[in-house]
C-alpha cells in the first residue's frame, strides 16, 4: 500500500473511533447517573466506550501492517517507549500503593492515556528527525 493511502486510511479510522469514543464517554456519563451503580445495565453501558478504544487499537494494528518498514520500525520504537513508561508508572507507583494504604489509588483507566501520550510524543519527536 502507498504511504499516502495508509496514512489516509489510518487517520480516517482514528478520527472516527476517537469521535465515537468521545461521544460515547459523554453519553454514558450522562446516562450512567440515571442507573443504579453496579447494575447489569450500568456495567453494559460503561463497556460502550471500550468498544471504541478497541477500534482505535485495531486501526493502529492495521496501520502497522500498512506502512513501510522504516515507519513501522519508528512506530514500534515509540510503542516500546510507551510500554516502558506504562510499566515504570504501574510498577513504581504500584509498589508505593502497596506499601502505603493511605495513598490514593491510581485508576487502571490511566494506562491507556499514559501509553498513548508517550507513544504520540515519542513518534512526534522521532518523526521530526526524519523531516
Amino acid at each position: 500500500m502507498k504511504p499516502k493511502q495508509a496514512n489516509k486510511r489510518y487517520f480516517s479510522a482514528m478520527l472516527g473511533s476517537s469521535l465515537g469514543y468521545l461521544g460515547s464517554v459523554f453519553g454514558v456519563s450522562f446516562l450512567h447517573d440515571k442507573l443504579v451503580d453496579g447494575s447489569i445495565p450500568g456495567i453494559l453501558l460503561s463497556l460502550i466506550p471500550g468498544i471504541f478504544i478497541c477500534l482505535m487499537l485495531l486501526s493502529v494494528w492495521r496501520y502497522l501492517k500498512d506502512v513501510d518498514e522504516v515507519v513501522r520500525h519508528e512506530l514500534i520504537q515509540a510503542m516500546m517507549a510507551g510500554l516502558f513508561a506504562l510499566l515504570a508508572l504501574s510498577g513504581g507507583w504500584g509498589l508505593v500503593e502497596l506499601f502505603n494504604d493511605s495513598l490514593p489509588r491510581l485508576p487502571v483507566f490511566f494506562a491507556f492515556p499514559v501509553f498513548f501520550l508517550t507513544y504520540g510524543l515519542v513518534t512526534a519527536i522521532r518523526y521530526k528527525r526524519c523531516v
Binding site: D68, V70, V71, H73, Y127, C130, V131
Partner: protein, 66 residues
C-alpha cells in the same frame, strides 16, 4: 551501514519523494535510509538495487559494521 543512495538518486535527478514513490515507501523513509539512521531489510535493499540496476553491495557498504 553506509550507502550512496543520495548520490545515485541525485544522478537520476529524483527527489526523495519521487524515489519513495517508486519504492512504495515514504519520503521520510528514504531520508532515514540515506542518512544511515535505518538499514533496509534484504527485500527493500534488493528493490533499491533493482531500481538502480546495480548490485546491493555497490549501493550499501557494510565494511564498517564489524
Amino acid at each position: 551501514m553506509e550507502n550512496n543512495l543520495k548520490t545515485l538518486r541525485g544522478e537520476k535527478g529524483w527527489s526523495q519523494a519521487a524515489l519513495g514513490d517508486q519504492l512504495d515507501i515514504s519520503r521520510q523513509s528514504v531520508n532515514a535510509i540515506e542518512t544511515g539512521r535505518y538499514d533496509p531489510s534484504l527485500p527493500l535493499a534488493f528493490k533499491i538495487a533493482r531500481l538502480f540496476d546495480m548490485k546491493i553491495e555497490d549501493i550499501f557498504d557494510d565494511s564498517g559494521a564489524d
